[in-house]
């Protein structure tokens, strides 16, 4: 009986700890960031396309009217952010748990890089890293600043600007222009 009493007391302690920790847990909104959400970080099962244009081409774009379709030609890089991998999805159990005690500011996920190759798009698989603080997406060849969409090279020198494209329409375009890739 003594042991049971101790275990029940420890459970009560766990509950009290939970309530004190969770009562102060504030949801982190990332709505203002590229690929952000009002309900937290870019979600595990979400997909997105982001097109990055070099400075000379991005200069012609009205910020109030960002591009909604993939350019037919020109010098651009299309980044595809698919859902997180199977094991990364499993790992989200820990992320959801620990976020109640301390901020979780970053996560990794797969990446597809498309670049124009004549009339088609070449494809390269890679890994990427999302961060809220600092608000950046780290790519193998560049960095995207999530607060203003600027595209930086590895030395953090500006190389252009990035824009989110509509998912389903862009998937259709990619299926036509890069039929050999996973999409």
């Amino acid at each position: 009986m003594h042991i049971i009493r101790q275990i029940i007391m420890s459970q009560l302690f766990i509950i009290a700890l939970c309530f004190s920790a969770f009562a102060n847990a504030q949801p982190k909104t990332t709505e203002h960031l590229l690929l952000g959400s009002p309900y937290g970080e870019f979600c595990t099962m979400c997909e997105a396309f982001v097109v990055c244009l070099p400075q000379n081409e991005a200069a012609n774009i009205n910020p109030a009217e960002p591009p909604k379709v993939l350019p037919e030609s020109g010098n651009f890089t299309l980044y595809y952010f698919p859902t997180r991998t199977f094991w990364q999805q499993i790992y989200t159990i820990w992320e959801w748990f620990i976020v109640n005690f301390m901020p979780v500011n970053s996560h990794g996920r797969p990446l597809g890089i498309y670049q124009p190759d004549g009339a088609t798009l070449s494809y390269q698989a890679a890994e990427t890293f999302f961060s809220i603080d600092p608000p950046e997406i780290t790519l193998p060849d560049a960095i995207i600043k999530r607060d203003d969409g600027s595209w930086l090279d590895k030395n953090r020198q500006p190389k252009g600007s990035c824009y989110r494209l509509p998912l389903w329409e862009t998937l259709d375009v990619v299926a036509k222009r890069a039929p050999q890739t996973p999409n």
Binding site: A23, P38, I90, L167
Partner: protein, 168 residues
């Protein structure tokens, strides 16, 4: 017999003579308590985010709708069932998570609460929120349902004579 513990007892002698079973029971109970804490955390976070008082649930559903293929069953489910019932669902999920969490931590109606957690997660999966993290969580609910863990540790043992089907 007024509980379902069988020969199990919180005695060093019992653990000494059943080391593997004892380890299994300890791990099982640890998992149950962690699962309960996870659910309470989820419930409290939802309260903090205004799930019970604002239209945040509806916004979440509409956002998810843009991410799902328009022809998918999940999109149909959200449009025809979840979005029209957003507020009742927000309450059901939030309060349900808190009840399940408390039940699992204190060993009160563990099997019923495990079934509730299972049903809730299946609902998430059907509603377009499937991801692989649901697999181990669903597996755990089946584990909690399969054994009388509330009789190993919790109030089910004491409550069982009052209502055997509820506290079994």
């Amino acid at each position: 017999m007024n509980d379902l513990r069988g020969d199990f007892a919180w005695q060093w002698r019992w653990f000494g003579s059943h080391p593997l079973r004892g380890l299994g029971i300890i791990l099982h109970l640890l998992l149950r308590i962690l699962f309960g804490v996870f659910f309470i955390a989820a419930g409290i976070n939802k309260i903090n985010k205004g799930w019970l008082t604002t239209d945040v649930m509806e916004k979440i559903f509409y956002q998810r709708l843009t991410e799902l293929h328009p022809d998918s069953f999940a999109a149909f489910f959200l449009q025809e069932f979840a979005i029209p019932l957003d507020m009742p669902l927000a309450w059901l999920i939030t309060i349900g998570e808190l009840i399940i969490g408390v039940g699992l931590i204190f060993g009160i109606a563990v099997r019923l609460n495990a079934w509730g957690a299972f049903a809730m997660m299946m609902g998430f999966a059907i509603g377009g929120y499937y991801d692989a993290s649901l697999l181990p969580l669903i597996g755990m609910t089946i584990l909690f349902f399969s054994k009388p863990t509330g009789h190993w540790l919790g109030f089910d043992r004491r409550l069982y004579p009052l209502q055997p089907w509820l506290f079994r």
